[in-house]
Symmetry: C2
Subunit: 228 residues, 2 copies
């Protein structure tokens, strides 16, 4: 399938340097496995500005934004440090995710179309019993995609925004065996049950299923995942 029209980035209004620096930094931090090995957690304004080819001013604004999001911590006259969340913080994030996705599922029963709900099958069936054979990271991403899809169905932009913000942090530990084989199988069964509830327009049940599902994930991480 070739594109039927030239895919061009709006050349005009190439984003501000701040926005570009922000995206580049966020991507870079997200890519690196900050919980593994002895990665360097310290950044340097001057060095970064030189490497990006921009001055410190827009770079600092990008860093300030990352600081507010909690990805980075700027300390006066000390340096800029990539933040490793504590396990307790990860637990809180999963809990918030559970609350919001649960609400989203309930809302979705009211506002999502049959077609939209039906589309969820594709996000589960594509894997089926083969999922466990795949690379866990890949499954994990697909898993999150499913949950984000439910959130999207709620048509509540704020829930999407907040969970997207949490996603960045939780993603950092996605490769840490959160989803091993048994959980993957169980997870898929849960997902199918959730879809059933959505199709039945049973908001209360859908909300409870989603909440329980995610809180089980939370307990699993609590017990078996060791974060630094």
């Amino acid at each position: 399938m070739s594109a039927n029209r030239l895919s061009v980035e709006p050349i005009g209004e190439s984003q501000s340097l701040k926005a570009r620096a922000y995206k580049a930094l966020k991507a870079a931090i997200t890519e690196m496995n900050i919980y593994d090995s002895k990665v360097e957690l310290r950044l340097d304004e001057r060095d970064l500005s030189a490497r990006f080819g921009i001055s410190r001013t827009p770079l600092r604004e990008a860093l300030a934004q990352l600081d507010q999001e909690g990805l980075v911590r700027v300390v006066a006259r000390r340096g800029i440090f990539i933040v490793r969340r504590t396990k307790a913080e990860i637990m809180e994030m999963i809990t918030v995710w559970a609350a919001l996705e649960s609400m989203a599922a309930t809302l979705a029963c009211k506002v999502a179309s049959d077609q939209e709900i039906a589309a969820l099958h594709d996000l589960v069936d594509d894997f089926g019993q083969d999922a466990v054979a795949r690379r866990m990271g890949e499954y994990s991403d697909a898993n999150i995609t499913f949950h984000q899809a439910i959130i999207g169905l709620s048509k509540n932009q704020l829930i999407s925004d907040i969970t997207d913000g949490l996603f960045v942090h939780v993603r950092a530990i996605r490769n840490r065996a959160i989803f091993e084989n048994d959980r993957a199988r169980r997870s898929i069964a849960d997902h199918k049950e959730i879809i059933e509830a959505l199709e039945a327009r049973d908001g209360e049940r859908a909300g409870k299923l989603v909440c329980d599902h995610t809180m089980r994930l939370r307990d699993h991480v609590e017990r078996y995942v060791d974060i630094e």
Copy 2:
């Protein structure tokens, strides 16, 4: 009793200009009734920096932070505008609040002490039947205090942080008759029921009561409050 060694207070880390400008601006914006009258919604960097007595650089960083929080919108070469949330956005915020406070209530049943829960009575009883006679703004603040107290009992800092962020926006319409007399009476009855569930350590019921309570508020605002 004479000190046998020099008693020294750690010198208080005088905040950065950015932090001070941020607090001052946020307070100023929060105070003003942005939904009423023809308030000026436009800000000017140079004017503000002159009035604060600081340069544009730290001021800009404070504004960038407010922009990210959604209180303000910075538009290149156009100006800086105080943001009026749409009614739909307020609805989404109340929905998120409902989801998070509901989860907080459920968590509180597990982690809060009897003493902490008992303290909630003070936040309701102080008003009792007299609440309706008070200035609504005052009641509204007390009302929010009650809900924030429940959130605090969950010991989930993230939930507190997110709802605090929402509070800033919702507060802006607090004087717009969200809580008129009938609602106030009903609200207090709800609150007492919530406390009962918490004391009974019935997490599921507490969560449902809180959620329903807040979603009723949401529906009320949807129907009767006119923003803009």
